[in-house]
Structures are given as structure tokens and as C-alpha cells.
Amino acid sequence: DAGVTQSPTHLIKTRGQQVTLRCSPISGHKSVSWYQQVLGQGPQFIFQYYEKEERGRGNFPDRFSARQFPNYSSELNVNALLLGDSALYLCASSPGTNYEQYFGPGTRLTVT
């Protein structure tokens, strides 16, 4: 069975631009969570979606938004990029909202 997939693997953006990151969960999993990991720190929770509804949001500005599609895949959007948004963005999938989470390989975003 395929694991969690994320695209793109890497990308470089300029300050002020917008970016969209994509995640496909494990087949049968209905929950997707997004995390941001800056260098040297542990991942920080951004969003959780379950059954296409936002179930939780971390302490991130409104420049960050996400959505989940009918096939349970998800997109994370970040507007007006700042240098501090440079990080590894991780997607996690789980069967529901209170289960073991499985992480994808991440998207490494560099903002210049």
C-alpha cells in the first residue's frame, strides 16, 4: 500500500509570493494534518481536517489556509510568504481524529 505522498519535494519562492502544497493520505484514511518544522525544532501543528471539515488550527497567522477534497487529499496554501516561512512542511494521515498518525516525506520550502 502506498504511504502518504506530498508534492512538490522542494520549492523555492520569493518573499510576497504564494505557495500551494499538496498531500495525499493513505488509502482509507479520512484525516489529514499539516505541520511546520523549522530547522532544529520539532514539528508544529498547523491544521487538521477530517471529513473535509477543519477540526483544529494551530497558532499560525491567517496567511495559512488549507482545504480537504472529497477524495481526502489536501492542500496547504500560504500567502504573502515571509523569510520565516522557510521550513519543512509535513503532512500526516490517520484513519480518524484520534488515531496513530503517519507522516509523508515533506515539502521543503525555501523563501528568498
Binding site: S33, Q37, F45, G56, L90, N98, E100, F103, P105, G106
Partner: protein
């Protein structure tokens, strides 16, 4: 919110040595996982262990939920065990709080 502390922050071992990593958390939890993050950033699931003891090969883990800690044991360490080990806990239904990690380096 819940605070998660991991110790030690850094650990250097000779190949073949054993080690114990600790995760303390400040409130009751209903989810706890241990992960190994490889040099490419991939978080690899080691254990889902909100309570009790589990073993998988050279690795084992114990969570004592009533005392708010979890331990990860690595026996007969190998160079491929190098990387960062994270403990993550959840008390609600939607998010995990990660610790700051233990950076392990195993020398050949």
C-alpha cells in the same frame, strides 16, 4: 497547553551500546507516538504507545501514563539508528505536540 520535554538533547554512542531516551509530559494524554526522523526529514513511526510496553526488534518503549513519562530503549545500537528521535503527544482529538527531540549519533 501540554509541555513535552525530551532528554537527553544529544547523545553519542559507540556501535553496540544501549541507550534510553526519555519523554516527560505535563498533563494527561490519550495519544503518544515515538518517531525517528532520518537525515532527509522523513518521520518514521516507531511506536504508538499511549500506555503500556511494546517491543519491536532492538527497540522497545514503555509509557507510564499516570506518571506522565515514556521511555524509548535502543539496544545494540547501529550507525543506521543515527538521527533525531521525537516523542509526540495528544490530549484532544486533533493535534500532536512534539518534544524538542533527542539527537542521536552512533559511531562505528
Amino acid at each position: 497547553g501540554i509541555q513535552v520535554e525530551q532528554s537527553p538533547p544529544d547523545l553519542i554512542l559507540q556501535e553496540g551500546a544501549n541507550s534510553t531516551l526519555r519523554c516527560n509530559f505535563s498533563d494527561s494524554v490519550n495519544n503518544l507516538q515515538w518517531f525517528h526522523q532520518n537525515p532527509w526529514g522523513q518521520l518514521i513511526n516507531l511506536f504508538y504507545i499511549p500506555s503500556g510496553t511494546k517491543q519491536n526488534g532492538r527497540l522497545s518503549a514503555t509509557t507510564v501514563a499516570t506518571e506522565r513519562y515514556s521511555l524509548l530503549y535502543i539496544s545494540s545500537s547501529q550507525t543506521t539508528d543515527s538521527g533525531v528521535y521525537f516523542c509526540a503527544v495528544g490530549s484532544g482529538t486533533y493535534k500532536y505536540i512534539f518534544g524538542t527531540g533527542t539527537r542521536l549519533k552512533v559511531l562505528a
